[in-house]
Symmetry: C2
Subunit: 149 residues, 2 copies
Amino acid sequence: MKLGSKGRYAVMALVDLASNGDNGPVSLADISARQDISLSYLEQLFAKLRRSGLVRSVRGPGGGYLLSQGASETRVSDIILAVDEPIQTTRCGEMGGKPCTGRLERCATHDLWRALRLHIVDFLSGVSIADVLDGRMRELVAPDSEQAA
Amino acid sequence: MKLGSKGRYAVMALVDLASNGDNGPVSLADISARQDISLSYLEQLFAKLRRSGLVRSVRGPGGGYLLSQGASETRVSDIILAVDEPIQTTRCGEMGGKPCTGRLERCATHDLWRALRLHIVDFLSGVSIADVLDGRMRELVAPDSEQAA
DNA sequence: GAATACTTGACTGCTGCGCTCGGATATCTA
DNA sequence: TAGATATCCGAGCGCAGCAGTCAAGTATTC
């Protein structure tokens, strides 16, 4: 998990794609103009999204991208996992060799991060592009809740 | 929210502090040795933790740091918010001037991130240093769940 | 007054992010 | 067949933050 703005852009782009792709493919140039994201940057993102099977591409004039599945079947978690590369946050157990440096407490905190990551992925798995598009997230957010953080 | 390794180190350090601070202050040198974290780096982290009121300091020989409150009252969310500076993830509404660039969908995704952040903070608010120390996170994690992500 | 340990500030190498540029390939239209 | 449109692909750049270091300073205890 990374939760950088890379994932945010990708979600914005796919929401745009879902809302404008009813008849035929949508070009990245259109998305770039509407969402104010650099075209070249979008190309990078969609390359990853395509390799992950989230979108299909149509080349040539009148071409562009299409959602592989419906907006209701496209989960936000898949988008973020496709774009923001994993980057193992714990380096516990495998990787690096030393299996958690002896200290028990250390592994205890690792469980915390594992639990947190599960929690986040679980939440994002329950949200589809359609949910975002139809404004169904608004309900989950209190009228004018916290500013910072 | 940032969820970088800075916050992980801070939590590890405070868990160490809680488990070794029953009688008197704990020096950063001790924590550094036990947790294998650079002393100078710990100094930076504890400066922030102290300013946030999470720990108290005792100077001079035999000095060190103490938890301001009990291990059960010290929440993980407070630690992370103290160490990983906010960095507004949406830049919607305030900040930057333009109040969300017109597009409705854009604000719709902002609601998503707001909801996610609330979700994360809510989860971390429910976890105390004592919970981590007593291994209560283990229960929340499936035996051998996901690897990547 | 010496040792201990917190306190502060500046500095460094590195990595990833956001973004650009240049070009190659496929496809549709005239 | 030519050219326009669009996806593809790889290299590269400036910047900011992270992880960590170094070098001082100050307070406190013995």
